[in-house]
């Protein structure tokens, strides 16, 4: 009989801790609203406890009747998601106080979305994967519209909701078709059926295409990218940072499990062609359109589209090299984006106004620490050594070349060169241009500055000494590639 065991419960201890913390925040919000100032601290304690639980308990492998796979890969992804959440919460405290929206629901929703992402990334069955995605998405619809008095924020929430609903419909339809073809939602069973037949049954192919389409919405890959700029621009900046990193990471892991589980690289030439087309289109469109943006957050949205294009190259390559490259890329992408968004969260006057690059003129000397952190992250996003962005791109393109995708690597490198232009334009504005006559009034926040500085330090240190991340990624991916 299938009864939950001790191992089952311990395996999802981090998820349980986060859910309890979220519930606690809601209760304290209802009965002791005077404690609001301490909410970010409480949420932070919950996340740290979750990290501790993931590191402390041993990883049992398959749990919950084979629904979830808590192994080194899951642990890697969980910890990277939780670190991203720490940055988000660190940014959120001062930000919410400034916008006078500090309530417990904000943190509770962030924590529950995190649980969704973790469930999604550690599940090996399409059913919990879909439910994890829903648990990740629904809080984000609300969080994007959290500044209810700001029209752009409500617009961002609504757009993300409509697009997210379409994406979910695609995903669940694809899952239904895969179930129809294989009578299973278990990735291993589906994978072995596909592998034994040696080719893709048309039903499996269409189901897979719809699943990839649904995930592409979450990853903001071309042609499902149109929502990203508006949502990035309108949402509260800490939420944007979360949105830019956590759902994309979870969706990439699911894609990787699919691609590796069915060995798509060797079985289906259509998959390789389609995914390569998506990757190249995302890189090119993201980088070219980013050049003409005048709003930093919109620019980072297009940059995010391009970066997911690079990550897709690693997903196509798959195998041990490609998988490890995806993980390294995710870590790099997280640190760079968290640093950049934390800096932007501070270098903004009013949340409902655009974050113009022009407003950053002269800030390099006015606010040296934040400007330096932003500069570091932007250089890293452009892929300049010795930062981690360079390491990540190097690992991805090396994997592509080793597997014979030289042309993908060449296109990626050319795109990186193009991208340097718009990243460096921000740096140019900060250091080479004088302060505008009407100086923007930015409120200094020690907490956000610390978050930005820590992320920038991570970008620098892991860029110079990437061995721990590379080794952890290689160990993690061995679970998937047998």
């Amino acid at each position: 009989m299938l009864t939950p065991t001790h191992a089952d419960l311990v395996a999802i201890a981090p998820e349980i801790i986060l859910t309890i913390t979220a519930g606690l925040l809601l209760i304290v919000e209802a009965f002791l609203p005077g404690l609001r100032r301490h909410f970010s601290g409480l949420a932070m304690v919950g996340v740290l406890a979750a990290i501790w639980a993931r590191l402390h308990f041993e990883l049992p492998g398959a749990v919950w009747a084979g629904m979830m796979q808590i192994d080194e890969l899951a642990a890697f992804v969980d910890i990277y998601i939780l670190v991203a959440v720490i940055f988000t919460i660190a940014m959120a405290g001062p930000f919410l106080r400034r916008t006078e929206t500090e309530v417990g629901e904000f943190y509770a929703l962030i924590l529950l979305a995190t649980v969704g992402a973790m469930v999604m990334a550690s599940s090996v069955n399409l059913l919990p994967i879909f439910l994890g995605l829903e648990l990740l998405s629904i809080p984000l619809y609300v969080l994007n519209a959290f500044l209810r008095r700001s029209q752009v924020s409500v617009e961002a929430g609504l757009k993300y909701f409509v697009v997210g609903a379409v994406a979910s419909a695609f995903l669940v339809y694809g899952i239904a078709l895969l179930y129809g073809a294989t009578a299973s939602t278990d990735l291993a069973v589906i994978g072995s059926q596909v592998a034994s037949s040696g080719q893709l049954n048309p039903l499996v192919a269409i189901g897979l295409a719809m699943i990839v389409g649904g995930l592409a919405f979450k990853l903001a890959l071309v042609p499902c990218h149109a929502w990203a700029p508006d949502v990035y621009q309108g949402g509260p900046t800490p939420v944007t940072a979360f949105l830019a990193v956590v759902p994309k990471g979870a969706a990439l892991i699911v894609l990787l499990r699919l691609a590796d589980g069915m060995d798509l690289l060797h079985i289906s030439p259509q998959w390789v062609a389609a995914a390569a087309g998506i990757a190249v289109a995302s890189q090119t469109l993201g980088n070219i359109v980013a050049i003409v943006q005048s709003d930093v957050k919109r620019m980072l949205a297009y940059s995010g589209i391009a970066h997911m294009g690079y990550a897709m190259v690693a997903v196509i390559v798959a195998g041990a090299d490609g998988g490890a490259a995806v993980l390294v890329y995710l870590v790099a992408y997280t640190l760079m984006n968290m640093g950049a968004f934390a800096s932007i969260a501070m270098l903004s006057e009013r949340e409902d106004r655009p974050h113009f690059i022009n407003d950053l003129r002269g800030q390099g000397y006015k606010r040296p620490i934040v400007a330096l952190a932003l500069t570091t992250c932007l250089f890293s996003l452009a892929g300049v050594p010795p930062f981690i962005g360079f390491t990540a791109k190097f690992v991805v393109f090396r994997a592509a070349v080793n597997e014979g995708f030289v042309w993908l690597a060449v296109i990626g490198v050319v795109n990186s060169l193009v991208s340097a232009f718009y990243y460096l334009r921000v740096v140019y504005a900060m250091y080479m241009q004088p302060l505008p006559r009407r100086e923007p009034k930015f409120q200094f926040s020690f907490q956000i500055a610390t978050a930005a500085a820590v992320a920038a330090l991570g970008v620098l240190i892991l860029g110079i000494y990437p061995t721990p991340i590379l080794e952890a990624a290689q160990t993690a991916i061995l679970v998937l590639v047998r």
């Binding site: 439910l131 648990l135 700001s150 129809g180």
Partner: protein, 190 residues
């Protein structure tokens, strides 16, 4: 006549399936919201019949109780409370892209139909038995669903309950009139 009797199951299925799709089309095309809601009700009932055809009696009952009963009444309440008689005409922009949308839908439908016809269905009627057995025992469909929900599918079940909680929190966040959320803050232009 013999043909009708032999293929009664298939004919009935396609009839119900066609009615389901017709109801769904009605939801998006009917101008009067109450009519659209009734078309939705028809779709719900037809889906319940499809569940019965697949021997998922419990799901069919839940479908009628929850969707046709509870959720439908809620929709009708909202429609009556906000008193929408007719939806206003769509913007020119939406009307312009409508043909493209229809074309896209037809293409997607054709693709799916081709895939389903070409793909062999591995799951035959054998799956029906699985809905009614636990271990070696044969039980009712309701018992089997309950058993699976609380054993094999316990984690998804719990995740669903958290999803519902989140939806509720989200509604409260939008609905609350609280000092913390309606202060001057960063509002729209005064």
């Amino acid at each position: 006549m013999g043909f009708l009797i032999e293929n009664f199951g298939a004919i009935f299925f396609f009839l119900v399936a066609a009615l389901t799709v017709a109801g769904a089309v009605g939801v998006v095309t009917l101008r009067n919201p109450v009519h659209a809601a009734l078309a939705l009700l028809e779709t719900f009932v037809m889906v319940a019949i499809l569940f019965i055809l697949r021997h998922a009696e419990f799901l069919a009952a839940v479908q009628v109780l929850v969707y046709a009963g509870g959720i439908m009444v809620l929709y009708l309440f909202v429609i009556m409370l906000v008193k929408v008689k007719d939806l206003r005409a769509e913007d020119a922009f939406l009307l312009n892209i409508a043909p493209l949308a229809v074309l896209g839908g037809v293409l997607l439908g054709a693709l799916l139909a081709a895939g389903i016809l070409l793909g062999t269905m591995a799951a035959g009627d054998g799956a029906v038995a699985a809905l009614q057995t636990i271990g070696d025992e044969t039980v009712g469909n309701t018992e089997a669903v309950g058993w699976l929900l609380f054993t094999k599918f316990l984690v998804p079940f719990e995740v669903v309950s958290v999803v519902l909680l989140v939806a509720m929190i989200g509604a409260i966040v939008f609905g609350r009139r609280d000092a913390a959320l309606s202060g001057p803050g960063e509002g729209v232009e005064p």
